[in-house]
Amino acid sequence: MGGVAPPRPRRCPIRVLVIMPAYNEATTLPAVLGSVHRAVPDCDVLVVDDGSTDGTAEVARAHGAEVLQLPFNLGIGGALRAGFRYAVEQGYDAGVQLDADGQHDPALIPVLLDALEDADFVVGSRFAQQSSYEVGRARRGAMHVLRFAMRLLSGRTFTDTSSGFRAFGRPVLEYFARSYPSEYMESVEALLAANYEGFRIAEVPVRMYQRAGGRPTTVRLGLIYHYARVLLTLLTRASRRRATSRAAQQRAPRSAQPAAVPPPAKVSTVEEAR
């Protein structure tokens, strides 16, 4: 029936795509898709099936989502970049990234989208306010190291560098469709890259559920190795930036400092909305 649908008036002023990278999430996906549809009925939903073997794509299709099916597992960075490319090709004005495992509350999507009015890139932070999100001690320590490195390299503080609940304006979608990093914990590098690129980045506090299904992406044994990798990636990114910063300054007058301003006012309204 898709083809014969007549042109109809747009229901929303901007077209928003909810991008959900999913790897073997067939069990949690129906509930999440349902609550996304209840929270933002106007948004299209794209599930990027990252080489799942449990029929994730079929489940997503059956629940009315558009599906990108990757031929094999690319990791979350690759799945996201495919999603961004889809969003850009299909002409969406904004995108929201949401985990398929039920960690994120789809009811907060409008909050992220609101914040997008004063920013290009909105990060849903688990730690901006005191929150109930429990993190193991080793992981917490590692996150502190990561946050410190980010402050050093970016010159501003991000309370949650690895959040997977984010919203992107069109310019950021286009930038990430070209260049979204594919290394492990790509969100940290993406944050740094967007910061260097001069995009306005805002943080919005979100509460997050413990994951409903699936297993954490890292076991403790590999933690040091993974964080060393992330730090190396960040340093690489920072050094590359230094090499090209002069050219970047000339062509992009947008400075990164004003970007730090928007959040406070926004944060308070967010709290009221909840």
């Binding site: 029936m1 898709g2 083809g3 014969v4 649908a5 042109p7 901007i14 077209r15 299209d44 990027v48 299709r61 009315g64 989502a65 558009e66 599906v67 990108l68 099916q69 990757l70 031929p71 094999f72 690319l74 690759g78 970049r81 495919a82 490319r85 889809y86 090709e89 299909q90 002409g91 004005d93 069109r170 594919s182």
Partner: protein, 164 residues
């Protein structure tokens, strides 16, 4: 690999001031020539890209030269100031292999990135293809089309492609 092995043996036989027993000399030369044949066969069957085949053939020829003229390496070592000819050979071999491995890491990284881009491209094309099929199917047999809600969304996604 075999060529390098043959070269190594050649150097092991070189310790006595370039005096190599005839039997050992023949053995080393035969092994080196065999490794050249092996590489040429790989090249002829198109298992190796020409840049690599050129590389390995060059390596094999160098090894063959060293194997056939054992005095050569000893003379080179003495002129450089290395008193133990096998050391010269090992240093050169390790340095060469190191460069090769670094080059391969670089090339693997690039290939992986290209494969990733291809995979994403495949996924996007597949989705576009399915949308197209759904449209065609909707014209002929409505039963084949997906649920109407999804159909609407698809129509919307395809129809307007400007950023608005």
């Amino acid at each position: 690999m075999i060529g390098a092995f043959g070269g190594l043996i050649a150097q092991a036989g070189l310790e006595g001031e370039g005096s190599l027993s005839t039997r050992a000399h023949v053995f080393v030369v035969v092994v080196t020539l065999l490794s050249i044949v092996f590489i040429v066969r790989l090249v002829r069957r198109h298992h190796l890209r020409s840049k690599y085949s050129l590389l390995w053939i060059t390596v094999a020829l160098v090894l063959a030269t060293v194997a056939i003229f054992p005095g050569l390496l000893a003379r080179v070592s003495r002129s450089v100031g290395v008193y133990y000819p096998p050391a010269t050979f090992l240093i050169l071999a390790v340095g060469f292999l190191f460069l090769i491995v670094v080059h391969f890491s670089w090339e693997f990284s690039r290939s992986e990135e290209r494969i990733r881009v291809l995979a994403e491209e495949v996924a996007l094309l597949r989705a576009a293809h399915e949308r197209l099929l759904a449209r065609l199917g909707a014209d002929e047999e409505p039963s084949g089309a997906p649920a109407s809600g999804e159909g609407d969304r698809r129509g919307d996604g395809v129809g307007s492609s400007g950023p608005g």
